[in-house]
Amino acid sequence: MKHLKNVATLKLDQEACTGCGLCVAVCPHEVFAIADNKAHIIDLDACMECGACAGNCPVTALSVKTGVGCASGILNGIFNGSGECSCDKGGCA
């Protein structure tokens, strides 16, 4: 199952990448693969912008605009100014 095409804000700076493979380890959707000692984005559309890769990358070669892919959360954000999910506590997944 995949969501919309070409929308994820995930960016990889291959120059900075050391190929440590931590992004492969933390990604819940197998977006990355290591080849020739560098990380590669092999499935951008699978990215859900959780930010695990960017937060763990030791050389900050990854950037992504993180957020929760939740319609009611986004609506709440617009109307209440909070980005919280309506299914807030213990919900969401």
């Binding site: 859900m48 912008e49 763990n56 299914c87 506590k89 213990g90 969401c92």
Partner: protein
């Protein structure tokens, strides 16, 4: 919450999980309020005095450590735990289903046993301890304000700061001889392994997504296979989360049904109730289709956009119910309800993005920019048709 009082009442199948009983417990006769009150008072006193961990039915005893006793927890879920899980799946008491943050022992752990990090949402904690049957280990429960690992990681409450804080509060460095923490894969958005190592001296090992894969992860010397790291969203997973979604929107659906029954009931001869069953029935069907049928059939419905999937389902409903002449006596009313159904089902389906495990914020925002205005237009046009149809 409430659990403490209930502790004294429980007898029966799960008694083996209850070695924490007082000698005079045998005199506890259910239904004598005086005794119950006394017990509750006594326990509250005990809690204040010794700051002893809150006794819970799922604790089986205590494990000694160099810095004091740690509660030992059972690994077999009792009927009470299963009832609790079912309740929160139906959105009952979901916000207070918590475990006290801190350190817990599983089996008979030694200083060399692994440490598993979890959230203080009891459902998460239960999955973990249940998976660790036959394992000796420590569970470090973070204070995530009763929220599951993934959502808490997204908010940062399950994160670097709280791990460092909890490791120091529990004096974990004096309890275990190694310096490793097993953090669930879904906790990664909130955790920076390098920062945890820098601030606490503990090395973070990212474990599998699902607690049930932990024994295999341990057997493979702390290596998670790609399959263990992948988030799935199976039919079973989707069915588990559907009730909460339906219940969250039930009030709105009921309100909409009442409003549409009233608006559609206005006729030249005053208020008519002819269309009332139709209004309630159709709104209910739309709510159920968007909240349960579309999520269940999610991979089978064409399109990647959730709102679009909902739109198709709404159209199918219109075709089926329209053919069966269940959507109103005139074309105007039928068309009105058709638009309304599409709006309801599409909106409910769009909301399932938050429950799903694979949507990104950019993706959902893009969907919403197109879907929300169209859904609003369909709903307003539908309402107008229903009202005009009733006046004719």
């Amino acid at each position: 919450m409430g659990n403490r009082g209930e502790l004294w009442e429980k007898r029966g199948s799960n008694q083996r999980h209850l070695s924490l009983t007082y000698p005079w417990d045998r005199f506890a006769i259910r239904g004598i309020p005086f005794i119950t009150t006394l017990r509750k008072r006594y326990e509250r006193l005990l809690l204040q005095k010794n700051c002893a961990p809150k006794r819970e039915p799922w604790m089986t005893g205590e494990t000694e450590t160099p810095v004091g006793n740690v509660p030992t927890v059972g690994t077999i879920l009792t009927s009470r735990d299963r009832r609790g899980a079912l309740k929160v799946r139906f959105a009952i008491g979901r916000h207070d289903y918590t475990v006290d943050p801190g350190l817990y022992a599983i089996g008979s752990p030694t200083p060399a046993s692994p440490v598993f990090v979890s959230a203080n949402y009891k459902l998460s904690f239960d999955y973990l301890r249940c998976a660790l049957d036959d394992t000796d280990g420590w569970v470090l429960v973070l204070d995530t304000q009763g929220i599951n690992v993934w959502c808490a990681a997204g908010k940062g409450t399950f994160g670097t700061e709280e791990i460092v804080n909890r490791v120091s509060k529990t004096q974990l460095d004096q309890i275990v001889s190694h310096r490793k923490l097993i953090v669930p894969q879904l906790g990664t958005p909130g955790v920076s392994a390098t920062e945890v190592a820098k601030q606490s001296g503990f090395r973070v090992l990212y474990g599998p997504v699902r607690a049930e894969d932990l024994p295999a992860f341990l057997a493979a010397n702390f290596k998670a296979t790609p399959a263990m790291r992948r988030v799935r969203f199976t039919l079973r997973d989707r069915i588990d989360v559907i009730p909460v979604e339906l219940i969250i929107w039930f009030k709105q659906a009921l309100g909409l049904a009442i409003a549409l029954a009233l608006l559609g009931g206005i006729s030249r001869n005053g208020l008519s109730v002819d269309g009332t069953p139709r209004a309630f029935g159709l709104v209910f069907i739309g709510w159920l289709t968007g909240g349960a049928i579309v999520p269940m059939l999610l991979p089978r419905i064409p399109g990647r956009s959730f709102a679009l999937k909902g739109l198709w389902a709404g159209l199918v409903l219109w075709a089926v119910l329209g053919t069966a002449k269940l959507m109103g006596p005139t074309n105007l009313i039928e068309g009105g309800w058709g638009l309304m159904l599409m709006a309801i089902v599409s909106f409910m389906a769009l909301n399932f993005t938050g429950t799903s495990t694979y949507t990104s914020m950019s993706g959902v925002k893009k969907e919403m920019k197109i879907a929300i205005p169209l859904q609003l237009i369909a709903a307003i046009a539908g309402t107008l048709c229903i009202v005009l149809g009733g006046l004719k």
